[in-house]
């Protein structure tokens, strides 16, 4: 059990670093979602099922959807600027 916890913590730090350092925003959103899943497992290991449920739903489902819609918004605007420059 302790080994599993160490593995999960290591994976958590790795996914957080990947989410920050990646240049493609879409990939960092997906890494953030993986981060939430690992965090859910850690909450469950520490016997906090209430927080785990909230983290699973909000971090994995809601955050990803809202970030995606925000990104589609930003991309459309970028494309419009490119056309104006051409």
């Amino acid at each position: 059990m302790i080994l599993l916890e160490y593995l999960l913590i290591g994976f958590l730090v790795l996914t957080a670093i990947m989410a920050i350092s990646n240049k493609e925003i879409l990939i960092s959103i997906i890494f953030l979602s993986i981060f939430s899943i690992v965090l859910t497992a850690i909450y469950l290991l520490h016997k906090a099922p209430d927080v785990a449920l909230a983290e699973a739903v909000i971090g994995t489902g809601l955050n990803t959807a809202i970030f995606m819609s925000a990104i589609s918004h930003v991309r459309e605007r970028d494309e419009c600027h490119c056309r104006e420059e051409d």
Partner: protein, 244 residues
């Protein structure tokens, strides 16, 4: 010159990563050293007395919606303010232009799955005092159903069936239910948001723990409708700009 700069950046990155790992394992190490129950604090009293005082088996829900129900009322007020602000800034009065959604396989599969997701969210809301979960978590699942509708079936599907007016009404209804239970507490027990022990069928059954069950229902409705309103007001603007 270029290679040395790259190497320096790599060294810096490895340094930061190793420091992060060090602190993560430090926190983990000290988290395991925490004592189980600290004697003589208020947490001890919650663990010992909450079942007989509130009738709720889930101590977290008992604290959230009974002992500290006023804080929960403040939290839902914060969400209400966030929804109002986002709708004020983002919404424009136009029907969103629907994308066609995903393929027919995904549509049929999701049609089979949706009732079960809704049932699960209702289970989490109504069994908040018995098992992990509660109004907030179940309400977020209800809101996520509405969001997945817009991804799978295209955004007009949900918009035509459940109008923003209906969602606003549901959200306000949830908040009013919460405050109504609080005023019931004043009338029957003398304190705002005190637990009114009506419809009590014994500890451990579905209809127990007095007003916690009703507050869970109100918070669930409020959170689900509020999150759906936030997502749809964001989507609306995206589609509005696609129109031009």
């Amino acid at each position: 010159m270029n290679a040395t700069a790259e190497r320096r950046i790599n060294m810096k990155r490895i340094f930061i990563i190793s420091i992060l790992f060090f602190f993560a394992f430090l926190v983990l190490f000290y988290l395991n050293d925490l004592p189980e129950i600290v004697m003589g604090t208020i947490a001890n009293r919650f663990v010992e007395k909450s079942v007989e005082e509130t009738g709720s088996l889930n101590v977290v829900t008992a604290i959230l919606y009974d002992y500290r129900a006023f804080d929960s009322l403040g939290e839902s007020t914060v969400l209400f303010a966030a929804v109002s602000g986002i709708v004020l800034v983002l919404s424009r009065k136009m029907l969103p232009v629907s994308s066609h959604g995903l393929s027919i396989l995904v549509k049929r599969n999701f049609g089979i799955l949706t009732p079960f997701i809704a049932l699960f969210s209702l289970y989490i809301i109504t069994h908040g005092h018995l098992s992990p979960g509660g109004g907030f978590q179940g309400g977020v699942i209800l809101g996520v159903i509405s969001i997945i509708f817009s991804i799978v079936y295209g955004s007009a599907f949900d918009y035509e069936r459940y109008s923003p007016q209906l969602k606003t009404t549901l959200e306000t209804g949830g908040a009013l239910l919460f405050i109504f239970i609080g005023i019931m507490g004043i009338v029957f027990e003398g304190v705002f948001l005190d637990n009114v022990n009506f419809l009590n069928d014994g500890t451990g059954t579905l209809i127990s723990s007095g007003s916690i069950l009703v507050i869970n229902l109100g918070v669930g409705l409020k959170i689900g409708a509020g999150l759906a309103i936030i997502f749809y007001s964001m989507i609306q603007k995206t589609f509005g700009e696609g129109l031009e």
